[in-house]
């Protein structure tokens, strides 16, 4: 089951009234969407507001989603329109559509986004998380670090990673899981201190 199929499964559940399934999609795409919207809206607090509004609009529009495109591509279009309407309502200049094609939705990568999509209040927490993850990665055994890097940073499938690392797919799955758990073990206490709080 590919990533797109997982999304479709969650959307199907949301379309039948399962709000928690939609919640999983929000968890998955909130930062990616926020990063994209930050190209249109510079104020991080406003990016948060528009991101939230985008998800609410997407939820309301779920009955019209037929699965012809990937969920994120559809969400991306709603996000861009929401951001543009937001800027128009404030009488601000709306950037031209050039550079905001939906094809870009899946591929856009931008470095140094920490500054752009964080409010001053959230900056400290974001930095702490970034440092914690980096330190945890450095402490990982080589095979675990390589596996998770190939997956998360290079976007390789388990099959491709198995070929690169010359090991069975089941081993790849296990290594990536163990890597995540090792990093999560370092992160959880940090996140616990901010539980139910906005960063």
């Amino acid at each position: 089951m590919a990533d797109r199929d997982v999304d479709r499964r969650l959307v199907e559940r949301a379309q039948t009234g399962d709000k928690q399934a939609f919640d999983l999609l929000v968890s998955k795409y909130q930062r990616k969407l926020g990063r994209l919207l930050s190209r249109l809206i510079r104020d991080p607090a406003e990016v948060e507001d528009v991101t939230q509004e985008t998800f609410v609009k997407a939820y309301r529009a779920l009955p019209s989603f037929r699965g012809d495109s990937a969920f994120y591509t559809w969400l991306y279009r709603i996000g861009i329109n929401t951001a543009k309407n937001y800027l128009v309502a404030l009488g601000r200049r709306v950037p031209t559509t050039t550079g905001f094609d939906s094809d870009e939705a899946e591929s856009f990568e931008d470095g140094d986004q920490l500054r752009d999509i964080n409010t001053p209040e959230s900056m400290l927490m974001s930095k702490e998380i970034a440092v914690t993850v980096r330190e945890a990665m450095e402490e990982l055994p080589d095979e675990l670090r390589t596996a998770i890097e190939l997956r998360e940073m290079e976007g390789l499938s388990y099959e491709e990673i198995a070929q690169v690392m010359n090991c069975p797919i089941g081993t790849v799955r296990s290594r990536i899981f163990r890597a995540r758990e090792a990093i999560a073990g370092r992160l959880r206490p940090l996140l616990e201190t901010r539980k139910d709080k906005r960063w």
Binding site: M1, D3, D5, V6, R8, R9, E12, R13, A14, Q15, K19, Q20, A21, D23, L24, V26, S27, K28, Q30, R31, K32, G34, R35, E48, Q52, F55, V56, Y59, R60, L62, F65, R66, D112, Q113, L114, I117, N118, T119, S122, M125, S126, I129, A130, I148, E149, E152, M153, S157, Y158, R173, I176, F177, R180, E181, A184, L187, R188, L191, R198, W199
Partner: protein
């Protein structure tokens, strides 16, 4: 189960495993935060994406929204595909049948058939008639009901004859 969530984050689960996983994540909020949310946070952080989560705000907002209910995706099923194929086959068969029936009208054999009929009719007209019949028919042709335009054609012919007589 955590390993399954990890694989689901990567889109590497089977349908059955995915269903079990979604069920567990839905039902257990702590489990969801410890796995699904943290795993995505790790991935986003490694890709240089880190920002305050809006999921809690969205969740609060959606709690006030009415539940959406929509038709499920129209999945391409084999049953539907079979119906489409049968419909197409029936249409092609109907067109072929009409074409086959109309073919003699346009083919060489049809001209031959028409020619044969014409020859037969000419042979029939060659039968000698009783004397005076032709004159009688000519004089009374305006009253014949054989014309499809029996009400108008005789009149037109009559006027024409009158003009010619002038």
């Amino acid at each position: 189960m955590k390993e399954q969530v990890s694989a689901m984050v990567d889109g590497e689960l089977t349908d059955h495993e995915c269903e079990d996983c979604v069920q567990r994540i839905r039902e257990d909020r702590d489990f969801r935060e410890e796995t699904w949310e943290v795993y995505h946070l790790i991935g986003d952080t490694l890709r240089g994406l880190i920002a305050p989560p809006v999921v809690a705000r969205v969740r609060a907002k959606l709690a006030q929204e009415p539940v959406v209910l929509a038709a499920r995706f129209a999945k391409p099923s084999t049953h539907r595909a079979a119906w489409v194929a049968l419909s197409a086959a029936a249409s092609i068969a109907a067109v072929a049948l009409v074409g086959w029936m109309a073919l003699p009208l346009f083919s060489g054999s049809s001209q031959q058939w028409v020619g044969t009929k014409v020859a037969e009719s000419q042979q029939r007209t060659a039968v000698p008639r009783a004397q005076g019949v032709d004159d009688y028919l000519l004089a009374h042709q305006r009253f014949t009901p054989s014309s499809a335009m029996s009400g108008i054609a005789p009149y037109v012919r009559t006027v024409s004859e009158e003009n010619q007589s002038r």
